[in-house]
């Protein structure tokens, strides 16, 4: 009986969503690129041919060869291994920052939209002020004030993304809190916390997630930019941004130093942008009937 019921159930929101996302070839390419880069970063300890910190004075600034596929840097460290390990740092920092922003931002957005009134206006005005600062400038200042460590980088990059998440979570909350099921919940005496967490949050989650995938690209860009300026994770830990900076200092003698980490960043960004666009199209109600 239950089995029959299950098979005749109309496809759920997720199945519909996934179906639409999968049909799009660009989304699939984007997803594969992201997957490859994430996997190679996670697997860095096993697949990297050399220790990313091991210096070899004899093999300084070697061009790409059979022993060093992507060449070596001024300290004789293997570029390929450093790109693989650097991916870990970049992806960890940016993913944590986006998760933090998602959590804090959507909480602010839901509470602000749910409470409404003057409280809502004040909170959103504050978010607008936060939003008016260019994310790189703000990240720059936060890291400069707090000092460059992994935690501070996550805080700085996360802080720049809170306001957009608050906005995107607030808009649907305003609509949903007027719906009958929320009213029913209130009539049954549910606490405000329960209504926000159990009844409103699931309806906001999909938009917040899509936004998250788009912001991940921005977070990676900000992290790399801060590293490039010299405010990233401290050397000798490799990050893509700091590798490009080192390469930039040797750009006349060894252009490959900056070109290869650049390609790594580009592949991830391209993948995330393609994936994010596909996810957005798949969740956009206006495109639902196409």
């Amino acid at each position: 009986m239950t089995a029959v019921h299950m098979t005749t159930r109309p496809p759920g929101a997720f199945a519909l969503f996934w179906g639409r996302a999968r049909r799009n070839k660009a989304t699939a390419i984007g997803a594969s690129l992201v997957l490859i880069m994430v996997a190679s970063a996670i697997l860095a300890p096993w697949i990297a041919p050399y220790d990313p910190l091991e210096q070899d004075i004899i093999a300084r600034l070697e061009p790409p060869s059979e022993t060093y596929w992507l060449g070596t840097d001024p300290y004789g460290r293997d570029i390929l291994s450093r790109i693989l390990w650097g991916g870990q740092v970049s992806l960890f920092v940016s993913t944590s920052a986006v998760l933090m922003a998602m959590l804090v931002g959507s909480t602010i957005g839901i509470v602000s939209g749910y409470v409404g009134g003057r409280f809502d206006r004040v909170v959103m005005a504050g978010m607008d002020v936060l939003l008016s600062f260019p994310s790189l400038i703000m990240g720059l200042l936060v890291v400069a004030m707090l000092g460059p460590s992994v935690i501070n980088l996550i805080l700085a990059i996360g802080l720049t993304a809170i306001a957009p998440f608050a906005r995107i979570a607030r808009a649907p909350t305003l609509v949903i809190k007027e719906r009958e099921f929320v009213e029913a919940g209130r009539a049954m005496g549910f606490s405000h916390g329960r209504i926000m967490g159990v009844h409103i949050l699931p309806n906001v989650a999909s938009e917040v997630m899509v936004m998250g995938s788009l912001w991940l690209a921005t977070a990676i860009r900000t992290e790399a930019s801060l590293s490039f300026i010299g405010l990233g994770v401290r050397p000798p830990t490799p990050t893509w941004g700091s590798m490009i900076r080192e390469g930039f200092e040797n750009i006349l003698d060894a252009p490959w130093l900056s070109v290869f980490p650049s390609i790594a960043i580009l592949v991830v960004m391209l993948g995330l942008n393609l994936l994010g666009d596909g996810l957005r199209d798949a969740t956009d109600p206006r495109l639902r009937h196409e």
């Binding site: 008016s132 790189l136 391209l270």
Partner: protein, 313 residues
């Protein structure tokens, strides 16, 4: 129109006040004693006290806040701890370079991006659309410093079309333009990507409206429909995006200035960061706040120009 501008100015004031307050608190609550950072661990207690006195750090927070606000309102930003020169003087010296770069790249973005977006929307799913989408995807994917490094590598180092280092004070306009070209193209590519994308999607929306069909039905030529009837309505989201991404542009100008070694606000801020020049940092944040509020104001005024309904509200 003047009433509209005044009203907008009135709305912008609280924002500016809030941003200034944040800037003030930000510099104060940061861990670490600025005096200690400036003088180093080996400084004597007396020297630290003297510097705190000089910087006004030993006053109550409220007094410091009033001092700061008074200073900003009277048009001073204090004195650089490093060079000992007024901060405003240093800013005025380099500001034209940053403005020149931003305006040039914005122009590239609008002049190329809007037509590209329109063509893309009209030939939806055709090859022109495909090319435009790839261009905007690439533009969105490049972090500004990555594209800057690659452009420098190809066009300045390999092909030698442009100077590697944009010199500081160029009197010769042609030479100045030549050193502006690559940085402006670099920033322009990002702006172009955003603008093409928004123009396309906004144009697609407008072209399916009833009044466009009406215009077509009454025999208005296709070109006229697009440029006269549709574009004006499609431009509003474009202006929003340009306004919003001016912030991105300012952020990216920092990176571009570093890579191309151009004088500008970006080089000033990074220098101040590296040297721990707190007064300069605070001053630059105030400048950025002013620039951003000004940009928002300009965006609002452009709405008024494009859409007469906005003015009447």
């Amino acid at each position: 129109m003047i009433g509209f501008i005044l009203k907008r100015l009135l709305v912008a004031l609280p924002t500016l006040l809030a941003v200034l307050t944040i800037v003030f608190l930000f510099v104060r609550v940061a861990p670490g004693d600025p005096a200690l950072v400036i003088l180093g661990d080996s400084a004597t207690q007396e020297a630290l006290e003297a510097l705190r006195e000089q910087l006004g750090l030993n006053k109550p927070l409220l007094a410091q806040y009033l001092d700061f606000m008074g200073m900003v309102l009277s048009g001073h930003l204090g004195i650089s701890m490093l060079s000992g020169r007024p901060i405003l003087d240093e800013v005025w010296e380099v500001l034209p370079y940053t403005v020149e770069l931003t305006v040039a790249s914005l122009t590239i973005g609008v002049v190329v991006g809007v037509p590209l977006g329109i063509v893309s929307a009209r030939r939806r799913n055709g090859w022109a659309d495909y090319v435009a989408r790839v261009i905007s995807l690439v533009g969105l994917s490049f972090p500004a410093f990555v594209s800057a490094v690659l452009l420098l590598l190809v066009f300045a180092i390999q092909l030698r079309w442009f100077p590697v280092i944009s010199s500081a004070s160029l009197e010769d306009p042609a030479e100045r333009l030549r050193s502006l070209a690559l940085p402006a193209f670099n920033l322009g590519l990002i702006m172009l990507a955003y603008i093409t994308r928004v123009t396309r999607s906004s144009m697609l929306g407008v072209l399916s409206e009833d009044y466009i069909r009406t215009a077509r039905a009454k025999g208005v030529p296709g070109r006229m429909v697009v440029w006269r009837h549709a574009l004006r309505n499609a431009l509003i989201p474009v202006v929003t995006v340009v306004g919003l991404y001016l912030g991105v542009l300012i952020g990216n100008s920092v990176l571009t200035e570093i890579v191309f070694n151009r004088p500008g606000l970006g080089k000033l801020i990074v220098g101040a960061l590296n040297q721990r020049d707190y007064t300069m940092l605070q001053g630059l944040m105030v400048i950025y706040a002013f620039i951003i509020v000004l940009c928002n104001l300009l965006t609002d005024m452009t709405y008024g120009l494009i859409d007469p309904r906005v003015k009447r509200q």
